[in-house]
Symmetry: none
Subunit: 194 residues, 4 copies
Amino acid sequence: MDKSERRQQILQHARDVFARRGYHAAKIDEIVATAGVARGTFYLYFEDKRAIFEEIVDRTFMRLGLAIVRVDPDNAERSVAEQIKDNIRNIVHTLLEDPGTTKILLSDAVGLDPAFDRKLLGFYEESSKLLEQALVDGQALGMVAQGDAHVYAMLTLGAIKEMLYQVVMRGLAYDEERIVDELFGFLGAGYLRA
Amino acid sequence: MDKSERRQQILQHARDVFARRGYHAAKIDEIVATAGVARGTFYLYFEDKRAIFEEIVDRTFMRLGLAIVRVDPDNAERSVAEQIKDNIRNIVHTLLEDPGTTKILLSDAVGLDPAFDRKLLGFYEESSKLLEQALVDGQALGMVAQGDAHVYAMLTLGAIKEMLYQVVMRGLAYDEERIVDELFGFLGAGYLRA
Amino acid sequence: MDKSERRQQILQHARDVFARRGYHAAKIDEIVATAGVARGTFYLYFEDKRAIFEEIVDRTFMRLGLAIVRVDPDNAERSVAEQIKDNIRNIVHTLLEDPGTTKILLSDAVGLDPAFDRKLLGFYEESSKLLEQALVDGQALGMVAQGDAHVYAMLTLGAIKEMLYQVVMRGLAYDEERIVDELFGFLGAGYLRA
Amino acid sequence: MDKSERRQQILQHARDVFARRGYHAAKIDEIVATAGVARGTFYLYFEDKRAIFEEIVDRTFMRLGLAIVRVDPDNAERSVAEQIKDNIRNIVHTLLEDPGTTKILLSDAVGLDPAFDRKLLGFYEESSKLLEQALVDGQALGMVAQGDAHVYAMLTLGAIKEMLYQVVMRGLAYDEERIVDELFGFLGAGYLRA
DNA sequence: GATGAATGAGCGTTCATTCAT
DNA sequence: AATGAATGAACGCTCATTCAT
């Protein structure tokens, strides 16, 4: 087994243990036992417990980053709304294809400590900036309501996060496309009718 | 200083320390030093570290429970929508009048351990049940869009949570009524315009 | 309730708690709760936990001291053997009329710490000195076998202690006179027959 | 140093510290300092403080168990009495070859807590059952006085325990064979002569 | 590179004792 | 005298990390 496979193997099992136990209750002992390597070996591949956790989160951030495609207002084939829906679909799909990591991201990584909070906030900031930009573009095209695009972005983020949080934490059996449709419909028209 | 004042005093400072450090980085030593009591005194009033944290969260749950008023579809004075807005206002107000506790609730208490996760999930379940009922009533009156009320409730919850999370974590200076209006507007019409 | 009654009351309940829990597991809290006095009151009557325990043991030593009557070789009415038997009877009776204290003496007080060990050893030394003197007198009268009277005293002490230890620890239902007879018979003739 | 040597090393020094201080006054700190290992190392080899103490006592029980040989009434070479004397010799020898452990057994382990009391009582029960059986056999052969064999066993046990207790606690300089002879003589004929 | 025994800083908790009322 | 709230020294144990083999 070569170095990078070994690394993967540890990473994978660490993710399982973190997802099952949460950050603090996840012991290095359980991770190495699960991964089938010696305790010292763990430290050959990762600086410390915090680092491997951070890497798991960072990888998810990266996968999410790839899932989000910049909205192009001039795209002749797909409207801004469609592109937003595509993004929602990609995000939902990315997060639900690995529920363990999603649980780590939406639950275990939250409130870990001030430094991690900043990292999380930074990522959400970045993501909502992307969305915000798309919304501003959409507003110029009349496709997005006039209003605080920054707030819209936050609310959207919150709706997505909660939906997925509930799904992974409670094992709700919502179909991915169903989730996407609900989210998109909600963004489109809310639900209150005067 | 009588017993209940002393209890309050410890509770207050514990809340500050938890909010500043997060659950695990909050040491009993810092709590008692901040509260100006001896280590042993802490244990006269609280079973253990976990118990005081749980009490802080429980009290917030209770305050929130009081803030939420059951929506009455037959109320002649306030429409379902207005009552929902009142509830949003109450929730936002309750959480923003004590940002430290809100940070604890929305950040530190998340992913603490499986038992606490269940408690959290339980509270959100209960809250969204209330909202869901209101939405179902609203649907009967034609005031809420046909659609999965349970999903609407989750998305609403997520939007509120994220908005307040951002406000308390980043110290965003949004006016309470502004937040309420944005949330209500969002629930009312989303933002995407075909 | 006057001072000495109050003292008695605490002492009595302390004895019960020590007997039930053993020295270390007996908490001042339980003693005062059982005695129905405030924690501070305890310290008005006793120096500290160790002191009350020591007093319980000392009182038992004193009661035992009174139970043991110096053997008079010139006593015309009762032979040395009879006087020894009387002593055994008194000791057994004294210890079995208060099994809780006996358990404290034979179990809880043992191995408490080096200082207490010395106290115990001192008491046993003193007691066996008394017996030893009686045996030496008996040897002069030809009523006690020639042999190391000091050893005889130790073995006698051990036999009595073990018998009573078993009785109080296991609640064996031996009749006092039966115990006395067995002990006396044992001292008289052993049990091995060539 | 391999695992079992390291274990021995810790066990040995723990025994010394327990013997010197008694169970409660023996601190893990002193044990590890004496053994020359780190605090954590202790816990690699032993579950907790109680466990290492229990192991010390259990090992002594086991050594004693091996020292006691079932008495065979049909043994043509050694009479029941001789076999009993052999057993006394073995017991005395086993306990005096390691006075520290004997002090632990006869002093520190006594009255530790109800659970340990039961363990102790259980061992003494078992041991005296063996002796009792031998005595019953001896009675059938006319070599042991008619009488309550169970009581004889207890008294014998007590005599042995006290003798060794005094020897190890006070450092009495009795020769092993002397002790055996005294004990055996005592069992044989007691000392009172009408 | 891999191992796993060893390390030791760190923390929550207990409980005998004190002391202001 | 009585109370009981307050104290703080003390200690067992955990577990992430290191390092000799």
